[in-house]
């Protein structure tokens, strides 16, 4: 079974540039989450979807961040006008049933460095 895939794996930007992260969840998982993980800290939830609907985006840091999941499958997280403080790993996770247990599966993440 394929896991959660993310691209790109790495991104390096100058402040003010825009960047998009792409996530392909596990097939059949209707719930998708985006987390931000600063260096040496735990992941922090940004937004999550059920199918194509945003359920909670209250933790998105600012209006520079946006996320979509138009067909209820793949998702894109975008940062407009990136700042140095956005430097972190961005993790995507999807949730579904495995062997009778509901579990959240994480992708490998995209490491973002804003110079």
């Amino acid at each position: 079974e394929a896991g959660v895939t993310q691209s790109p794996r790495y991104a390096v930007l100058q402040e003010g540039q825009a960047v998009s992260f792409w996530c392909d969840p596990i097939s059949g998982h209707d719930t998708l989450y985006w987390y931000q993980q600063p260096r040496d800290q735990g992941p922090q939830l940004l937004v999550y979807f059920r199918d194509e609907a945003v359920i909670d985006n209250s933790q998105l840091p600012s209006d520079r961040f946006s996320a979509v999941r138009p067909k209820g499958t793949n998702s894109t997280l975008k940062i407009q006008s990136a700042k140095q403080g956005d430097t972190a790993t961005y993790l995507c996770a999807s949730r579904g049933d495995r062997g009778g247990q509901d579990t959240q599966y994480f992708g490998p993440g995209t490491r973002l460095l804003v110079l």
């Binding site: 989450y33 800290q41 735990g42 992941p43 999550y48 909670d56 949730r95 959240q104 994480f106």
Partner: protein, 111 residues
């Protein structure tokens, strides 16, 4: 122990030793998740303990949960080099897997 805005803690042990990592949480939860994260990879769930379970075991792992003190622990018996990773506890106050992660413990197991 780990929580909140604290940075990653570090713990180093010898192969074969037992180790316990502690987690204190602030928000109400009925379940505590423990994840491990290997370098360059996303977190992976290793054990989940619910409020009606005081202890749960999975192989060499043992998790405990004390809802009265809002604390949980993860123990690894006879640690091996491949147990080297960052370990996080996470709570789920909403019950919808909107996880709140602790700051993590970097465990290094030396041969």
């Amino acid at each position: 122990s780990q929580w909140g805005e604290e940075n990653l803690q570090a713990l180093s042990i010898q192969e074969g030793e037992d180790v316990t990592m502690n987690c204190s949480y602030k928000t109400y939860t009925t379940v505590v998740h423990w994840y491990r994260q290997d370098s360059g990879r996303g977190p992976a769930l290793i054990i989940l303990i619910r409020s009606n379970e005081r202890e749960k075991r999975s192989g060499r792992l043992r998790a405990t949960l004390d809802t009265s003190s809002q604390s949980s622990s993860l123990s690894i018996t006879a640690a091996q080099c491949e147990d080297t990773a960052v370990y996080f506890c996470a709570t789920d106050p909403s019950g919808s897997w909107q996880l709140i992660f602790g700051s993590g413990t970097q465990l290094t197991v030396m041969p």
